[in-house]
Symmetry: C2
Subunit: 367 residues, 2 copies
């Protein structure tokens, strides 16, 4: 495995000191920021995540803040999801599309108040798209990247750990809702969300200087819960069908191709810039779509380039994320398949670096 050359440009986070002290062995770069990817081993990290509780530095989920009289209008311009029913205190997963209906990001929008939103972004400089639109349409809205760094607490013991720090009220937060909690005199938004299927929270840490105090408080409170530093886990997120922007989808794809049609209200999302472009695909359906695929045989290496999927000589799609799953005793993977070959049970061959492998399209993800 090659090394990473760290530089000021690959931004540190408020929690980097903690991540380094915890012995992060590898990183990726996400939104020009460091994201640890490995502590013990991918499998050991996975087992621990499914059994205990982990604290994740996901500062790289940068926020795009919209604030002002036109914030709600601009927010609706960005997404085909109808936001009229969204209330302050809610988080919405919102596909963001350009004027052609291509996905620019798949963030979680957080509605702080009627005229203020945070968009917690996946890996693209969405800030620039939003700023460009605000400028071009001369909207009355401030758009910037605030000093907010999410810290995730994930795993089956997440509620117990968080309750020790923030009180039992934290247990009452419903899925994709947030509430405000105090830490060292500061009010922080705490949401029940996160990039795993094990349950947990994301704390929107506003003000980098309280990053390490919060990190340390979580570890001190959770010693007997076997809390440790972690990170989004490749195996677990594929088992759970959590897509990764840039890996499993790009701006070439519509939300419908990504299986996100249920987050699109193409007929009622008036004002969405990509709405016209999506009307046809919303009606007729996409010609390719994300599918869970089980790849047979020995563990495959990480999918560091797209692996073509074949039926006979015909290329029918590609796999973009894959990992060996100890719990399901197969290679779990995510691919984009043509509609002619996406039905569950379809037998494929996947061209991996270790040669062609038989594979089967599944009807749903593993967890």
């Amino acid at each position: 495995m090659a090394q990473i050359s760290l530089s000021h440009r690959l931004r540190r986070t408020p929690f980097s000191d903690g991540v380094e002290a915890a012995g992060a062995k590898a990183y990726t770069v996400y939104n020009r920021m460091r994201l640890p990817t490995l502590f013990e081993s991918v499998e050991a990290d996975y087992r621990h995540l499914k059994s205990h509780v982990q604290v994740w530095d996901v500062s790289c989920e940068r926020q795009v803040e919209l604030r002002g009289p036109d914030a709600a209008r601009l927010m609706q311009m960005l997404t085909p999801r109808d936001l009229r029913g969204m209330l302050p205190g809610q988080c919405y997963y919102v596909p963001i599309v350009d004027e052609t209906g291509g996905m620019l990001n798949d963030p979680v929008a957080v509605k702080l108040s009627e005229d203020r939103y945070w968009i917690s972004i996946a890996d693209s400089d969405l800030l620039l798209w939003v700023k460009g639109l605000a400028n071009g349409y001369r909207l009355d809205v401030l758009v910037d990247e605030p000093d907010v760094s999410p810290l995730a607490v994930q795993g089956p013991k997440a509620d117990d750990l968080m309750a020790r720090l923030f009180g039992d009220r934290v247990r009452d937060i419903r899925f994709f809702r947030f509430d405000m909690f105090e830490f060292e005199g500061r009010d922080l938004a705490v949401a029940r969300s996160g990039y795993s299927k094990q349950g947990g929270f994301e704390i929107y840490v506003e003000g980098g200087e309280i990053g390490m105090p919060l990190w340390n408080a979580l570890f001190a409170a959770g010693e007997d819960l076997q809390v440790r530093a972690g990170c989004p886990n490749l195996i677990e997120r594929i088992e759970g069908g959590l897509l990764s922007y840039g890996n499993d989808m790009t701006d070439d794809n519509t939300p419908h191709e990504c299986g996100l049609g249920r987050f699109c209200n193409t007929h009622t999302a008036i004002g969405c810039i990509g709405r016209d472009a999506l009307l046809r695909v919303a009606k007729e359906g996409p010609v390719q779509q994300i599918r869970p695929i089980a790849i047979e045989g020995d563990p495959v290496p990480p999918c560091e380039r797209a692996w073509p999927a074949y039926v006979g000589d015909k290329r029918v799609g590609q796999v973009t994320s894959a990992a060996w799953s100890p719990d399901f005793d197969t290679n779990v993977s995510i691919g984009m398949l043509h509609l002619s070959h996406w039905d569950p049970g379809t037998a494929l061959e996947i061209e991996t670096p270790q040669g062609m492998r038989p594979a089967i399209v599944r009807d749903r993800f593993w967890i």
Copy 2:
């Protein structure tokens, strides 16, 4: 040094096979693409670059293409540099600013024809800013990222190597000009430019499938010139004062703070979105600015976070790039200093990971 977790999201390039075969030991991520940073050692790579010729995979300098009747108007909206005199065949270094005058990128713009430009970008998704503006202002222009991957040929023997492949006409290309050359039946733009002070070219490789044939042809042609794979070199680029967007400047900085005032024609760049915001700084000058700084003592480690600069107890700026220079027998560095302490000869103290170090502001970069 930590490892890098490669994934499909950290995009491969048309030359990745060559880079891997040449034994790249480390990478950074630049525009969500792999950029090798190390082959033998930073010092050995540096010595070779200054003596021979290297081939660099700088595909991560992605292109933003503007094409259509409003391309020139949009191009001028992006930058305070007056583009009225720019001719097809010219390359311009253009600071790109937002409506506040903050730098969004510092790319090289390539004028292909009166209605077609490529912007060869530094590390930010400039495409999204340009697309947002084009949409908001309803301009008649196509904006996208074409399949174009720059391959740089850098070093004192670059002319000789390139002449073997493209003929002696390549020697006639003037600095920051380009001309068209044929390779395997394809016309490629070849510019005299690059991110080193050793001279050389950048080939705009249009169509990924000819990437490896071109890579291999360069190596085959240059064996006796000791051609080898290389990459932008930290030591050499600091000696030469080549700034790095994200390291030495961000969107917090105006072009004037970055010492790029000479590329700003604030009074005549009519249509530039950031023009109003820059009028005052253009007249009064910035209050902080980029400076070359020699840091005394033993070699410093890579600058993976900003190092504060002090005069006595007063913080007067920061260093963001630094390396030991064998040729100048000192640590060369780039910092941003307050005007009260930016005069050449000013004695500073820099807070490095190895403690406080005496340092001196220089009047110019080293080469």
